[in-house]
């Protein structure tokens, strides 16, 4: 089972929920941080013996000798990565989306494959033996989905007989990076907070993810802080409310010192064990619905 922990709004507690679920999970589990722009899961799971693999995107390289300045590549490129200016063909590799179209339309063989560094994929293992994988975008790199694609490839390579369960810490938002990170999931957890911003972005996330047809459940963090409109939204949309993490200063301080919330006290451990059970039940019910349909 693959569980994606997503949110819409940033800073609602995705990493807190992911790290805690990983630490109470009863079967072998793989932890994956797909928030490649600002990965934080490793700060809490603290993986050791981390190996690093560079991730690259194929971008064009120009052989000036062969180029006849026909301009076919510049005409095709939809991303302004190639420009024909007078007697110069100029490449902007930062703008390239790696479609490979320019190489295909060049009749002179003047373009060949080069590489742009997207970032790295880091894989380590925690003190209790849980593998932890992180994508880390190169600073200045604009596109995160290609690197997320490399993380997904690595994830599938590790998954197998030993690791059937994966917990994915997703990026905030509802555009391409968030969509990419939930597409492999069997269950999507939406972490929110009981504030106007939390509700607004929960609604956006629900709208964005609903077309996938995957089971979704809600976790309210900082419960008791603002208002009670999230509960009303969940019952209106038939979204199960799976856990409520109370608004307490000691919880915020525990996080501020790098602690995993499920390890704060017995109450928190039980809260996340119950959440883990409810997530599994949500998946089982969804599978039953499919088999009865």
């Amino acid at each position: 089972m693959i569980i994606a922990v997503a949110s819409g709004k940033g800073g609602t507690g995705k990493t807190t929920v992911s790290a805690s679920l990983v630490s109470v999970w009863k079967r072998p589990v793989l932890a994956v941080d797909m928030d490649v722009e600002e990965p934080n899961l490793h700060l809490f799971l603290k993986p050791e013996s981390v190996s690093t693999e560079m991730a690259q995107l194929a971008v064009p390289l120009l052989d000036k000798e062969r180029c006849t300045l026909c301009g076919a590549c510049a005409e095709l490129c939809q991303f302004k990565a190639i420009s024909l200016l007078g007697k110069n063909l100029i490449l902007f590799p930062d703008m390239c989306h790696g479609c490979g179209g320019c190489l295909r339309v060049c009749s002179e063989g003047a373009l060949r494959k080069g590489q742009r560094e997207l970032g790295v994929v880091e894989t380590g293992i925690t003190a209790v033996g849980i593998p932890c994988m992180t994508g880390r975008l190169r600073i200045g790199e604009a596109m995160s989905p290609p690197l997320m694609g490399k993380v997904r490839q690595r994830m599938r390579a590790i998954m197998g007989k030993e690791f059937r369960d994966v917990i994915i810490d997703a990026p905030p938002g509802v555009s391409c990076p968030a969509m990419t990170s939930v597409q492999d999931a069997d269950v999507i957890l939406l972490v929110t907070e009981p504030t106007p911003f939390g509700l607004h972005d929960l609604r956006l996330a629900w709208q964005a993810f609903r077309p996938f047809g995957k089971p979704m459940g809600v976790v309210i963090n900082r419960a008791g802080l603002g208002d009670e409109k999230i509960q009303a939204f969940c019952s209106e949309k038939e979204l199960p409310l799976l856990a409520e993490i109370p608004f307490r200063r000691d919880i915020a301080e525990h996080y501020a010192h790098g602690g995993v919330l499920a390890c704060l006290d017995a109450g928190m451990r039980t809260l996340f064990e119950n959440l883990a059970e409810r997530v599994e039940r949500l998946e089982r019910m969804a599978l039953m619905e499919v088999s009865h349909a």
Binding site: E37, E38, N40, L43, Q78, V174, P196, P211, G226
Partner: protein, 301 residues
Amino acid sequence: MRELVVISGKGGTGKTSLTAAFAHLARNAVLCDLDVDAPDLHLIAEPSIQRSGPFLSGHVAEIDPEACKGCGACEGVCAYGAIRKVDGRFVVDAPHCEGCKVCVVSCPEGAINFPDRLCGTWYESETRFGPMVHALLDPGLENSGKLVTLLKAKAREQASKFGLDLILSDGAPGIGCPVISSLSQASLVLLVTEPTPSGLHDLERVVELCRHFRIRSTVLINKADLSPEYQTAIHAFCDAKDIPVVGHLPHDPAVTEAMVRGQAVTEGIDTPFGAQVRRIWLNLQPLLEAPSSSFSKEIPS
């Protein structure tokens, strides 16, 4: 024209609450919500929409089922795995289509259309704080960097139209495409952080991003009392990078209480937190007056 862009790396550090408070205090600014993925500033600013329009960006491939002979050339050239065979015919999975046109030019039958892609809606509005530009990206769609660029241009138009010389921009979390686009032409970037492992880790990356694009930045430590150790670490980091810390704010429920009332945290009820935000706004003024930074690097959209 001056533009203050508020970003953070990590989400939920207080960007939007602070931008709304600055809008209330400035009284002479155009408000601009650049978090087009999950915009929230309108929940406080309550804009009344004056003008709106479609945000068209790039194209999407569409296979004409009548003209398609089923040769599969398109599937072979697509670098994004966006073309699949369904019941003997090829179809484009629009969310995965990058709009590169390679399939269009590879189809021997000319069976692939390439219409504009509608990605969202932009708005020009009025608020009690002044004019505002904002947008909503359609759920799941990309090109948010281009929408950010469009909004920034509209904010400048509004500033000229109303004779205002300040733009207050609320940015997105992260360091990717929409954040990079939001940095363009910024006079100053305010980095809102919190004293936590994630706060510091993500601050280091946004500071590096600002340096990469040669934009001046300053740091505000929110929820500063959560961890004295991490607060010290943030100061040490800022000193080492020669970045001024413009102020500290405590972890205070006043922020959420104002949000629930639909007010900026400086509006309505006087709170100690509001008074501290006012002081930070004053501290920001000399930094905003300094000459704006020049770009030496191409900012991809």
